[in-house]
């Protein structure tokens, strides 16, 4: 039994779950300034019951990194120390703003509204920046920093896409109409970001280049970008149909947006595997002592099905369109 591999998969699943789940609520947070006060209340109501559990996937992801790959944890979080601090500050302000923005009065409320937006943006951008630094193995230099900032902007775009398509699913009327337009803007942004990153990554990393440009494997690998393009097309077309009044498919744009993330994530995972720190540490070199891995795995196998089950229950309880005033 290859414990390192199993934990790599577990960590990947946690991180992907985090990115998709917290991604949509961070995206909704970034879209706040574009909406009216009433719409903002609906938007916050649509994510209020979920954001807390969504962020728990981040704790699980970083927890697995810490527990299963302690050597990589030190290298990765040491190199990313300041962006991590920025992300945490953003997540903190945003998390408490859920409570404060409706309970504070006067200019305090305005301040927390602003912090809700700014915190969402800071957290999203920092995560993208961290991803950009991570892909390039934390190489120093201006070019690499620029690359990381482009990735940061792309992740913001991606989260906006997730947030906007989530709102298509969870709202109706004029707010939904706005969300449809936001979805398309988000999609364009994502297309640009994914395109840039896909082109740049093989250029900045020899390891990644070797993995993708190796005929005839390259031909099979082209299924990934093709699927990604197709998912993008689904977002574009379904948002158009919903805008024209076609009913019963409000969830389709969100599902397709999740597919874009999942496919991009797979591509990234393929690029990096078997490294946990590119060109430096493989998952086997970084893995923790098997005794601790076994005991965590046993717990995870027992508990994860329950987590999935009651998460599903929670989404079922709060199914349907969101209403304003959840935080009254």
């Amino acid at each position: 039994m290859d414990l390192a591999l199993i934990f790599m998969v577990l960590m990947g699943v946690s991180v992907l779950a985090y990115v998709v789940l917290d991604g949509y609520d961070l995206g909704v947070g970034m879209l706040m300034p574009a909406a009216s006060a009433t719409e903002q209340s609906v938007m916050v109501s649509s994510i209020g019951p979920f954001w807390d559990a969504n962020e728990t996937w981040l704790v699980l992801g970083v927890g697995i990194l810490l527990v299963a790959f302690p050597k990589a944890h030190g290298v990765v979080l040491g190199a990313l120390y300041l962006p991590v601090v920025a992300m945490l500050v953003g997540l903190m302000f945003r998390g408490v703003a859920f409570e404060f923005r409706m309970k504070a009065l006067g200019w305090h409320r305005e301040l927390w509204n602003w912090l809700f937006w700014a915190g969402s943006f800071l957290a999203s951008f920092s995560q993208g920046l961290m991803l950009g630094r991570y892909i390039t193995g934390f190489e120093p230099g201006f070019g690499y920093l620029l690359f990381a900032m482009v990735v940061g902007a792309s992740v913001c775009g991606g989260y906006v896409l997730l947030g906007a398509t989530w709102l298509v699913l969870k709202t109706e009327g004029t707010l939904q109409a706005k969300a449809l337009a936001w979805s398309r803007w988000g999609l364009l942004w994502v297309a640009l970001g994914v395109g840039l990153v896909s082109l740049a990554t093989p250029l900045v990393s020899e390891t990644v280049r070797a993995k993708w440009f190796d005929f005839p494997r390259t031909l099979a690998l082209m299924a990934l970008p093709a699927a990604c393009l197709w998912a993008g097309a689904v977002v574009w077309r379904s948002t158009g149909r919903i805008a024209r009044g076609v009913r019963g498919q409000d969830g389709l744009p969100f599902a397709a947006a999740v597919a874009i993330f999942a496919i991009s994530f797979l591509g990234l995972a393929y690029s990096l595997f078997p490294y946990v720190v590119i060109d430096r540490l493989t998952i086997w070199e970084a893995a923790a002592h098997p005794s601790s891995l076994k005991v965590v795995l046993a717990g995870a196998l027992v508990v994860l099905p329950f987590i999935v089950a009651y998460t599903a229950i929670s989404y079922r309880v709060f199914r349907g369109k969101a209403r304003a005033g959840l935080y009254d």
Binding site: P49, L66, M92, F100, H289, F318
Partner: protein, 450 residues
């Protein structure tokens, strides 16, 4: 290196001290909420519902503070103390992992149902969700205290290479100090919540003396405190005896006993002097320490000189311990007095309301003081006898630590001020307002859509 160690400790200390405030309130408040919720279900009284709604809002606010500061903690274990994970990660990692898996997801998910699902699920499911949130907070305390206690009094570990791994997980979890520390902390949480409930209710009654909900919650808080405060004395004493057995250097620092001798006096107050290794301006009870710790006035107690260089700094441990005990004694007196005065539905006089309001956050002060005693008292060890704090510090530069320390301090100060302002406003407006509150801007659309 010493600067980085100091900054790493300062930053971690700031984070963990700020974080612990919120769980120490929510752990017990969750169980009280369950009580309010069940009371509403059984009586059908609108007053209980209003009470439940007010305290749910306060809970949600506090819980959010705990969650976001807790996420910071999850990153800092690794960034500030990489040596910790390298040497004892095989034991600490699974305990933290089990906390995330069994507690964090449970409480976070059912919190949504508890806060926003009352009209969406049947009553039994809503009560169940409230109960699961309470179970989650308690489970979380179970795992993190198991880990902390293991660091104080390690057991069940074996050395493999340069790593300590678990030989016997049950011995690791139920290590010698764990049962005492767990019960001590749970009661501390109960007292913290009880005084917050009583204090904020008193705050409301100072404004609106006739508020029925606030009178009832004041009584609940006072009674819970009156039961728990004396109980805490007993548990604290047992915990102290356990510490004497397993961490005698910590006891020597707590009592400022510099030299091993027989018939040791109890130092009531003094200024410990690290240079002369004596106590200045000491007020002592003859034979007191020997009597309390060994239940024999002539018993010998080990002083700090018995442990060489491996001793904690005396003054912070000594003073924090006295602060904690002092608050505890005051809690017993106040809760019993208040319970007596408010018996059979009698209204509390204003001086009592002011006193209870002043004691609102006394639980926080005592809890922080207690943690200072136990954590500084463990120094210079991170894991007693196995790993020194200085061996665990990482390579993050002092400059980066300085930047992040400033950022965290600013963030926490902002959050804390906002938390206090909103808390006092919510409590001051009372339960009826919390149940009926409608918001400008949000209400029109909400009403139209419903």
């Amino acid at each position: 290196m010493d600067d980085a160690l100091l900054l790493a400790r300062a930053q971690f200390g700031l984070n963990i001290a700020f974080h612990i405030l919120f769980p120490s309130l929510t752990i017990a408040l969750a169980w009280m909420l369950l009580g309010f919720r069940v009371a509403y279900h059984r009586t059908g009284e609108a007053g209980w519902l209003a009470t439940y709604k007010l305290w749910t809002k306060i809970f949600a606010l506090t819980f959010a503070m705990g969650v976001v500061t807790g996420i910071v903690m999850s990153f800092q274990f690794g960034t500030n103390w990489p040596g910790y994970m390298n040497r004892v990660g095989a034991i600490a990692g699974p305990l933290l992992g089990y906390e995330v898996l069994t507690a964090f997801f449970l409480e976070a998910t059912f919190l949504g149902v508890m806060l926003f699902g009352m009209n969406r699920v049947p009553a039994w499911a809503h009560i169940g969700a409230t109960a699961l949130v309470a179970v989650g907070t308690t489970l979380s305390a179970f795992w993190i205290l198991a880990l902390n206690s293991w660091m104080q009094t390690p057991a069940g570990h074996v050395l493999e290479g340069d790593q300590w791994i678990a030989g016997d997980w049950l011995a690791v979890i139920f290590n010698p100090s764990f049962p005492y520390r767990f019960v001590h902390m749970m009661i501390a949480s109960g007292l913290t919540a009880a005084f917050v409930v009583a204090g904020l209710s008193a705050w409301r009654l100072l404004k609106v003396p006739a508020d029925a909900s606030a009178r009832r919650t004041l009584r609940v808080g006072v009674l819970v405190a009156a039961v728990l405060a004396p109980l805490q004395t007993v548990v604290g004493d047992l915990h102290g005896l356990n510490t004497l057995e397993h961490q005698p250097a910590k006891i020597a620092a707590m009592e400022a006993i510099w030299h091993t001798e027989k018939g040791v006096p109890l130092v009531l107050f003094a200024i410990p002097n690290e240079k002369t290794r004596t106590n200045d301006y000491a007020i002592e009870l003859p034979y007191g320490a020997s009597l309390i710790l060994k239940h024999d006035p002539d018993a010998e107690l080990k002083g700090l000189d018995a442990f060489g260089a491996d001793v904690p700094p005396v003054a912070p441990v000594f003073f924090a311990f006295r602060l904690m005990v002092g608050i505890g004694v005051a809690m017993i007196g106040l809760s019993w007095l208040a319970a007596w005065i408010t018996r059979r539905g009698a209204a509390a006089p204003r001086w009592l309301l002011w006193t209870l309001a002043a004691f609102t956050f006394s639980g926080w002060a005592a809890t922080l003081a207690g943690w200072i005693v136990t954590e500084i008292g463990r120094q210079p060890w991170l894991v007693t006898g196995l790993l020194r704090t200085s061996e665990a510090v990482g390579e993050i530069s002092g400059a980066q630590l300085g930047v992040s320390l400033t950022g965290y301090a600013f963030t926490y100060a902002t959050m804390f001020v906002a938390y206090m302002v909103v808390l006092t406003h919510l409590a001051g407006d009372g339960a009826e307002a919390a149940a009926a509150r409608n918001l400008p801007g949000a209400s029109a659309a909400g009403a139209a859509a419903d």
